[in-house]
Amino acid sequence: MSTAEAAPPANKKAAGSGKSFDIQEYALVGVIALLVVAGTILKGDSFLSTDNLFNVLRQGSIVGVLAIGMTFVIATAGIDLSVGSMLAASGVAGGLLVDSGSFAFIVGAILMGLALGAVNGLAVAYGKVVPFIATLAMLLMARGLALWMSDKTPISLFDLDAVRWFGTGEVIGIPSSLIVFLAVAAIGWVLLNRTPYGRYVVAVGGNPEAARIAGIKVRWILFSVYALSGLCVGIAAILLCGRLASASPVAGNLNELDAIAAVVIGGTSLAGGRATIVGTVLGVITFAIVFNLLTLMNLAVEIQSITKGGIILAAVLLQRRSSS
């Protein structure tokens, strides 16, 4: 450092990329710890059983995979309301290939997810439709597609052992769906933090004009995040269908809201330009535990709903506080 004025007062907080989200992430770790303590006190036996904890994580994994894709979409200041419906459509698309085996199911589900995501991407990036509207339309269309393709009846996947393994299997005692979720999260983290692509995504969300002037292909980036979200939907569909051993056209209802909530309480900014995969993972875990505790305590559905909504509001208010 050559000049005396350069004495850096803010050096510590800027020591590395992404460090500014730490407060939020620490706060969520604290919340999760509190929830575990609360669960232990309230329902110690059932909450702490291995079966229950794995169940929590299995359930969480499906929304978790959706939330990773959603993180990229929200980082560009967009939103994807259609992931719940696309989840059903992807499962059904795979289910139509049930006679051709597990591999065909997997390919079918992923391709359908990608294709529907790409339609969202085209509408937003090239058709300049507001993301809220484009994906709201997809929410309706994908659900209709799922119902139509399946003739409104669930398709049994009981014979697809490999698919069922993704839903219920284990590797050295760890649920396979959790492994898939963590793998998707790890890839998402690298993509977001260690590749030019991740930089561009955040740049487009933070300041599309500046991104364009710096030579970033803004439309391509916008297109790609919706396709990426579709890809995550395809992966989540495999986990979900494997767990249920069937492809249901009514599955995934309102999952988009769980995914969005997890992303936002994790600290990714709905206004774009700020994204954190670690936060999203913590947000997913927080939600899964809350959901599980409410179920274990046998609270009525309406009380569960009110509680969940309250938690989202509280978490976002907390985020305001800590980021200002």
């Binding site: 450092m1 004025e5 990329s17 030579g215």
Partner: protein
Amino acid sequence: MSESTAPLLEVRGITKQYPGVMALKGMDFDVRAGEVHCLLGPNGAGKSTLIKCISGVHAPTEGEILIEGKPLPVGEPSQSMALGIGTIYQELDLVEDLRVAESIFLGHEPRRLGLLDRAKMRADTTALLERLEHGDIKPDMFVRQLRPAAQQIVSIARALSRNVKLLIMDEPSAILDDGEVEILFGVVRKLTADGVGVIYISHRLDEIPRIGDRVTVLSDGRTVATGLPADTPRAQLVEKMVGRKVDQLFPDRAKVAPDADVVLDVRGVSGLPRVKECSFQVRAGEVLGIGGLVGAGRSELLRLVYGLDKPNTGEVHLDGKKLPAGNPAVAIERGMGLAPEDRKSQGLLLQWSLAKNVSVADMSRFTTAGFINLREERKQTGEKLRELNTVPDNPNRITRELSGGNQQKVVLARWLLRECRVLLLDEPTRGVDVGAKAEIYRLIAELSAAGIAVVVVSSEMEELMGLSSRILIMREGELVAEVDGSTATEVELLSHAVAPTDTNVVLEETR
């Protein structure tokens, strides 16, 4: 101004401590009723903090502020306002979708029986604007229709509507061209004749003797000279401000070989609604200036050349090859770079580190097997930042924390890193202090000496004359004149820039 006048405002030894930074380290100065007191200082000298203390946005850590001899309640913006302190910020804070009258009375609308008294609002607005001798601005016009200078006047009228005694103007001329500045000065003189005291902040040294009575120089959080007469020689002011002598603001112009290759060739480019059939060429190592009034279409022309907007007609050739229309990514690939007019909203991601902002246009340089090499990124971006004397030059710092001049250096560092062939600079020194200006000028000269073709758009004629080998003048979307940079005079440039019939200074032409 007689010495016996009691000071309207007195600032005594105020300091302001932010966490980790001492922004003000002791400031003293005073403003008398009816005078224009200019504040001068490099970016980061503490001008903004001082203003915020006076207008009550921040409370000073020590010291006192007296208004008409009485202590000002600190940290209470509404109290400051009630005592007659008005502030006009650099970025105009008018709501563009409101009408003039609504803007002026926003927040203190006259009421009758609990309802808005529109008639009184309109009548009062007319009276205020006439007092400023600008009855040509009508209460029912929309703010967005007005030119920047007229918007400034509306801001001033708004301050007057609250019975302002002390008006703080933060770089009001930054977004105005020379003709508009003259209009603004007329209004300021009118205010002071009515006994209003004005604090006037500007980076344009030439304005000080034209509008000011006295001048106070700030540097590094202190007043280094206070209450100097406004006609203090310029060199002396600059010396006080930067703490050393700046012998030469403009570097020596590089000689352009007449047979140097034409790097950028713009052929008949038009784009609605502003740009009509513009053609020009820039040779390697040349600095081409583009002057004209604000709104003449200069920034729009640069946007078309760079590919940010698609031209209706015309072509841009780079190194003899045609560029695809409306594709900045390809333009950058082929060696073009743009430092946009508004760095904050167009040039930079303010929440990003300096390293990310510098590297963003050239990520492949730091990417191995698809992954970013963060260490290499920090190292190379740090080198460029140091080369430009950016303060701070630590690539991990957040861009938002930097002053305007240093943010501009971050934008320039980006294109230096890319080693581009053509650099388009739109108002490169707007809001930049004299010290940093000289450095940016030196950099432009170095770049052109290294064979880069540079296009500079500026509203400051002096800057164009000091830098360019040729100056093009743009008027109402057309390039109307070409002047030799070394022999041009301000009068000559202005006479080309202003159309003989162009008398409407109030309304922006329809967009």
